[in-house]
């Protein structure tokens, strides 16, 4: 137990978390600090490329086994199942209309890559290794949640056209993540070495800058969304990660992941999307209100996971092994 608190305290004082807090603070104080859109996109591409490549290079030296396929399947299934749970909880506790509830549910089935990155960092600081293919699991979990939400929104009737699904599956972030993963698998440790000074060494620093931006956006979202975020919704944003975490923990045990892999799987299940899903829903479910789902995912769940969630998930993963 003591360990968990130590970990949580250390985590709260990591540069990454502090830069996120700085972003929130700047936003609350109405500073004009902003990160240009192009720079934010560039950083995001960099992070995808880096995490994908590193995962792929790890797989190339760790080798492929059945656990990998089980983990991929488990991830995809959870991404499709968790929205149903989230939807039930939302309908029972928050009074959100069906469409909005389905939209929010989609976010919690899908995943947040930055949360995943932060968990990877925490593992690194704790000196715990993990399965390289977990980034592929992350990619596999982005989309099924959206299909689930469309079913939920329309009482089971088919609403989604193939075109929208293609757009979701091939969104830029996933393509870079998965592409870099395969390039990492192909070129292996040698390839990693040749570009490590770019994708490995400065990684944590770039992540700090990115989290500064996330803080700014989250703060802005909270300001915009404060009229829509009722207490039951905020509570949902805080306990739903734990519900997701429970699913993730069980799945990890069944699949047989390592401590690190379990921590990452739990984090994926606990995290909520804020890039891919919102864009997809504007196409597939335009009636759902972004003013609800964006602040909830970005302003409530993301900070929770970043500060308290990740150390907790790591503690759970350690406890389970």
């Amino acid at each position: 137990m003591q360990n968990v608190f130590d970990l949580a305290a250390a985590n709260l004082l990591a540069p990454t978390v502090l830069f996120f807090a700085l972003g929130i603070l700047a936003s609350v104080l109405r500073s004009d600090l902003t990160i240009p859109e192009a720079v934010a996109k560039g950083i995001s591409l960099y992070l995808m490329m880096s995490i994908g490549f590193k995962g792929g290079a790890a797989v190339s030296s760790q080798g492929v086994d059945t656990t990998m396929f089980l983990a991929l399947i488990a991830g995809a299934v959870l991404s499709g199942v968790i929205p149903f749970v989230a939807f039930g909880l939302l309908r029972a506790t928050t009074g959100l209309p069906q469409i909005d509830a389905a939209a929010v549910a989609a976010h919690y089935g899908s995943i947040s890559i930055v949360t995943f990155l932060a968990a990877t960092q925490a593992l690194e600081w704790s000196g715990i290794g993990s399965e390289g293919y977990m980034v592929a699991v992350a990619a596999a979990m982005e989309t099924p949640a959206i299909a689930a939400a469309l079913i939920l929104a329309s009482n089971g009737a088919r609403r989604f056209d193939g075109n929208t699904m293609r757009e979701v599956l091939l969104n830029g972030s996933i393509v870079v993540l998965v592409g870099a993963f395969f390039i990492g698998v192909i070129t292996g440790e040698e390839g990693l070495e040749s570009i490590a000074p770019f994708i490995v060494a400065p990684f944590t620093g770039v992540l700090c800058l990115f989290l500064l931006d996330m803080g700014l956006i989250a703060g802005r979202g909270l300001k915009e969304g404060r009229n829509h975020l009722t207490w039951p919704l905020i509570l949902f944003g805080l306990y739903m990660p734990l519900v997701g975490a429970a699913f993730g923990a069980i799945a990890s045990m069944l699949v047989g992941l390592s401590v690190g892999g379990t921590c990452l799987m739990i984090t994926l299940c606990a995290s909520a999307s804020y890039i891919a899903v919102p864009a997809a829903l504007r196409l597939a479910l335009p009636e759902a209100r972004p003013a609800i789902y964006l602040p909830l995912s970005l302003g409530v769940t993301f900070p929770f996971n970043l500060t308290i969630g990740i150390p907790l998930y790591l503690a759970i993963a350690t406890f389970l092994h």
Binding site: E37, I217, I275, A279, R282
Partner: protein, 103 residues
């Protein structure tokens, strides 16, 4: 220099929908359009700002298309259908051009 009357359609639309808008314009025989980036805005649904945002949700672009007056009605109908449930507005105004046959 003689000028000729045409219509200028200006569409402010949330970015994720841009592809559908241009497909609609293409499908209705519009000869061209130009897309401008927007930086920020406010409407009934609140304010937005482009800075720092990675995803395409929550920001707008502006599509400008110069078209022949005869074509306005046939383009406006499907455009409006598309924009109705989404975040966006469509306006039409008068302009003069030099080469009438281009539009």
């Amino acid at each position: 220099m003689k000028t000729h009357s045409k219509k200028r359609i200006e569409i402010m639309i949330e970015s994720p929908l841009l592809g559908r808008i241009t497909e609609t314009l293409d499908a209705h025989g519009v000869t061209g359009y130009t897309v401008l980036p927007a930086l920020a805005g406010r409407g009934e649904d609140g304010a937005w700002h482009r800075d720092g945002v990675i995803g395409r949700a929550g920001s707008l672009v502006m599509v400008i298309s110069i078209i022949d007056a005869d074509r306005v009605q046939s383009v406006l109908e499907p455009l409006f259908k598309l924009v109705k449930g989404q975040i966006g507005i469509v306006t039409v105004s008068d302009v003069e051009v030099i080469r009438p046959d281009r539009f």
